[in-house]
């Protein structure tokens, strides 16, 4: 099932030329070889993570990583925390609920405060588009974007790319259909950039109000009819639809959404043979996806995505801290 993607180092240059950014703020702004490099590194961490005995590496030993989450998250926070700890870093989590923001401190002041604690990397999630970039301007250490508003969620796109790469052997030429609330989805935005950079054909589909027409200028095909969008596609990415959007504002009801955009066996048959089904989670079973599909490990890569998430975040934390750690060729 898993295809070999090692020995792809012809896809990126050697040393620090393979990734030349201080921060990881988004996929937009990255070069294809930089993405390939992160994926290549992440793939190596998958092997470590799967080893039955010790899963520990000491390369980030002594470094402090702050996970500053201004918006609720369970899986991304956990994934970043495990990634940091597996690499031997000291990881501390800051939740919005405990933060000074509730006491009226501005975001910049919070950034300056975090900076004064001399973290070696800060992972940030925030509810406003651009907030992570704003903080990155005010701190000295590398910043990783764990999702900002409806802008970007780069590690999600990278873990999705790694998942496709391992299952399909390649991303170039694959037809990927992203279905759901594209308008409010940072996952969709990062995935569109990432997949296009790596040469995939990208389709977006969903209720008209949730699929902006301007997306066409990104070189993606826009559909409102799910069946047409699925025709012959190799990968189906279902997005989570937030319940609050299904009470009449954008969609009349969950059952109407399921009627038009729920992924069932019948619709899956329209896609190419062996089409891969993905979902960033958490899923609304019976709304956007049927359990029979989500739980079929031959078809669904949903748990694998979570697994790749840890590996991708290990790779990202490793790469952005290399300068600090004076790694040869990167200092």
């Amino acid at each position: 099932m898993t295809k070999d993607i090692t020995s792809r180092n012809d896809r990126f240059p050697e040393g620090s030329a393979a990734f030349q950014h201080k921060h990881l703020l988004g996929i937009s702004g990255l070069q294809p070889w930089e993405i390939h490099y992160i994926l290549d590194q992440a793939d190596q961490w998958v092997t470590l993570n799967r080893s039955p005995a010790t899963k520990h590496d000491n390369s980030l030993s002594g470094l402090t990583i702050i996970n500053a989450f201004f918006e609720n998250s369970t899986r991304t926070l956990l994934s970043f925390e495990i990634a940091g700890k597996r690499l031997g870093a000291d990881v501390v989590n800051m939740h919005a609920a405990q933060s000074s923001l509730k006491k009226g401190e501005t975001l910049i002041d919070t950034a300056v405060t975090l900076n004064a604690m001399h973290a070696d990397a800060i992972v940030i999630r925030h509810g406003s588009s651009g907030a992570v970039q704003l903080i990155s301007d005010k701190v000295d250490c590398p910043v990783l974007n764990a999702g900002d508003g409806t802008n970007e969620h780069p590690t999600q796109a990278l873990l999705d790319a790694l998942t496709i790469m391992r299952r399909k052997g390649n991303i170039e030429g694959q037809i990927v259909t992203i279905c759901g609330d594209i308008l409010h989805s940072r996952v969709a935005r990062s995935n569109i950039y990432c997949l296009k950079l790596l040469g995939a054909e990208v389709r977006v589909v969903g209720p008209p109000a949730l699929v902006p027409k301007t997306l066409e200028s990104f070189g993606v095909q826009r559909f409102t009819n799910f069946e047409k969008a699925l025709d012959g596609c190799d990968v189906i990415m279902m997005l989570r639809l937030q319940n609050e959007r299904m009470q009449g504002d954008y969609i009349p009801s969950p059952r109407e959404y399921n009627f038009l955009y729920g992924l069932n066996e019948e619709r899956l048959a329209i896609a190419a043979d062996n089409a891969l089904v993905m979902h960033p989670g958490p899923m609304n079973r019976g709304v956007e996806i049927e359990s029979s599909i989500a739980d079929n490990l031959e078809i669904s890569a949903i748990t694998e995505q979570v697994e790749m998430g840890v590996a991708v975040r290990m790779a990202c934390l490793d790469i952005v801290t290399r300068k600090t750690r004076a790694v040869e060729g990167w200092a």
Partner: protein, 400 residues
């Protein structure tokens, strides 16, 4: 007092201008050996700029920009919705700078109950405004318009259809989609303009669209003018020289209301200045402290500081050949004075002697270090520009 040795907007051969008691008394030949003469050293003489629709009485900024009168929006704390606040605002800048306040159309600008417009007119209000927002209920809007018409006051409106723009911070388009910012179609402007236009025609009121920023909006204004309606409109340099791409990098200084538009709309705005559809260029001066702008884009307050850069940026329209310098001062002074009905805005005998002397070529760079206003939140930050005011004469006295 006589001013001598200057260039004129029309290039006429005039050697001297004399003023007495703050009024221009004669325009004509050179007066020799007069102790009261002021040597303008070849600078360009123009009427003081009348800035139609600002949000702050930021005197140092206005002085820097050659603005001698500003028409103040009612969006203040507290809202200018009663005679006392209007009276205070009208007296605030005197004697060297005049503020002409606009009355809030509705109480606390909430769009529901009529404010005391007649009492505010008596206290010095020169017009009525709906503020940053517009009035949603058409019934209320029509009543406001009929009231303004009866009192012979112009109504200043903001043109965004709130039903479409609610919660949005940018114009629908590629940039907003890339950045993941909530956005609304530019169509919201034309919808708002058209519904207000029908009501204004019904009420027979002079309606001034403070900022028209889209091609389709300008088409409506053009048609209305052709039909002879009492319609005028304005714009700020931001919408003439910047398009939506200026918000890239989440630059909150470029978060404006209405938001920056597409490049096609920007070019339509330039064309509308050139063909006379646009009557006024104003600064929309709205200085915002750092804590209101150093925020994630959608949390930042919209608005820009514009008084300091109004003249220099507008001069680009002359340099690029879109309009003559004379027409520029129609947009900056003559038309604004005409809209609010004050005896200023042009250099003629019996007009108030609000004059500025400009070095049109003087180079400078837009920079918060040299901008003296309350805040330097301008999307033009860092831009090299040309044109500085060297002297200001207000009420016949050299004040700068």
């Amino acid at each position: 007092m006589h001013i001598q040795n200057f260039k004129t907007l029309s290039g006429d051969n005039i050697d001297s201008i004399s003023c007495e008691n703050g009024i221009i008394t004669s325009i004509g030949q050179k007066i020799d050996n007069d102790a009261q003469s002021f040597d303008a050293k070849g600078l360009l003489l123009a009427p003081g700029i009348i800035d139609l629709g600002v949000f702050s009485t930021d005197k140092p900024a206005f002085k820097f920009g050659g603005i001698t009168r500003a028409i103040l929006m009612p969006d203040q704390k507290p809202v200018h919705d009663d005679p006392a606040t209007i009276k205070y605002a009208a007296s605030k800048g005197k004697p060297d700078f005049w503020v002409h306040p606009l009355a809030a159309a509705t109480k606390n600008l909430e769009g529901t109950h009529l404010a005391e417009i007649a009492l505010m007119k008596d206290a010095g209000a020169v017009g009525v405004a709906t503020g940053h927002d517009n009035i949603i209920a058409s019934e209320t809007m029509l009543r406001v318009m009929e009231y303004c018409a009866a009192l012979d006051m112009p109504l200043f409106v903001h043109s965004e259809d709130i039903g479409l723009t609610r919660n949005s911070v940018a114009t629908e388009g590629e940039t907003a989609t890339i950045l993941g910012l909530s956005n609304a179609p530019a169509l919201s402007e034309v919808m708002s303009i058209s519904s207000d236009m029908y009501l204004a025609e019904e009420a027979d009121v002079h309606i001034h669209y403070r900022q028209v920023t889209t091609a389709r909006g300008l088409d409506l204004i053009r048609e209305a003018k052709a039909r002879g309606l009492k319609v005028t409109c304005g714009i700020t340099p931001a919408h003439l020289f910047l398009s939506e791409t200026a918000i890239h990098g989440f630059r909150t200084f470029a978060r404006l209301s209405p938001p920056l538009r597409s490049e096609e709309d920007r070019l339509a705005c330039i064309a509308a200045v050139a063909d006379g559809t646009i009557d006024v260029i104003a600064s929309g001066h709205d200085p915002r402290a750092a804590e209101e702008k150093r925020l994630p884009f959608s949390e930042a307050t919209p608005g820009m500081a514009g008084a300091e850069t109004l003249l220099a940026l507008s001069l680009n329209l002359v340099r690029d050949g879109h309009i003559t310098i004379k027409r520029l001062f129609d947009l900056l002074a003559y038309n604004p004075a005409k809209i609010i009905g004050i005896n200023a805005g042009s250099i003629e005998v019996d007009k108030e002697a609000d004059l500025i002397l400009i070095d049109t070529d003087a180079p400078w760079q837009v920079d918060d270090m040299i901008m003296p206003g309350k805040a330097a939140n301008t999307p033009f930050d860092g831009l090299p520009v040309q044109g500085r005011v060297r002297h200001i004469m207000k009420g016949g006295k050299i004040i700068y």
